[in-house]
Symmetry: C2
Subunit: 162 residues, 2 copies
Amino acid sequence: MSHSSNSTDEILRKRGYRLTPQRHMILSVIQEANEHLSIEQIAERVQQINPYVSLSTVYRTLDLLKNLELIREGHIPGEQAHYEAADGQAHHHLICRRCRQTIHLDTALLGNLDKQLQEQYHFHHLALDLVATGYCSACWQAIQQEEQGPENLAEPPARQSQ
Amino acid sequence: MSHSSNSTDEILRKRGYRLTPQRHMILSVIQEANEHLSIEQIAERVQQINPYVSLSTVYRTLDLLKNLELIREGHIPGEQAHYEAADGQAHHHLICRRCRQTIHLDTALLGNLDKQLQEQYHFHHLALDLVATGYCSACWQAIQQEEQGPENLAEPPARQSQ
DNA sequence: TTGATTGCAAAGCGTTTGCAATGAG
DNA sequence: CTCATTGCAAACGCTTTGCAATCAA
């Protein structure tokens, strides 16, 4: 629970930026969350403290903090981008295409992939974002059912007749 | 170069859909491309053949083909979704945050990750989409330069005098 | 006839931008 | 003073939706 403050201030100043109250609030909100937050969630929480912080400022600040690598940005198709403190554990997502259930995957799953890419392509400051989609077991079963439903009820043992 | 046609037609019909000229064109365009295409690119190519195909149809068709798993959808932050034939090799992306240079990564990089997830979480029909971002070596050097550029040229051993 | 499909235009929605006002150095 | 930063409202751009017309079974 001890975060940001002066060291953050220096990081910004070194690059010619200021740690304004808005920026500080936004960063704090992200650092104090236990999960990643969407822009909407961030704005909500910030505006709970100061209702006059504008959405544009949130967007602009998120972009800045991302470039400074103080926060990480993640993406899930069909959802707003989400953000988490850069010093926390990164994680990935496994999503059911049908019910949208989302499982968080540990970064360890990808092993030393960053190092591999770094060495092979000479990229620096790598950040990985993996999204796996499929059908969870419940939905998978439901789908099977539906297929032998109304229309295609006739599906005899022997398949592939073409 | 031999694709779709009758078998595709059956896949659609089995689920109560029709293989309309529009759908066929859209799928063909994707299957005949050597790289993944954005919605815009797909619409462009389709409209080159028939200028009266509407954008909504492209969107609706893409969504349908994706659900039928005839095509795969991929995402790169800041770009439109892109599509490729489901029977081709999947691939991932390594992107430079500064110059946006994009390198295509082979699926092999992720090894048996799908199987792992399948076994551990009992998900079916898994599709993976990995996006790695960082700074390419050229940009990385450029950034280093800038940091000791115009402003912060004086970087004497002892700082923080505020 | 019935239901799927399409084109068009309008609506939606998240994000970005121009600009004047504010504030720190 | 000068330049970074902000709030506001307008502009944007991509995507979705309502609806009447069309088309296949």
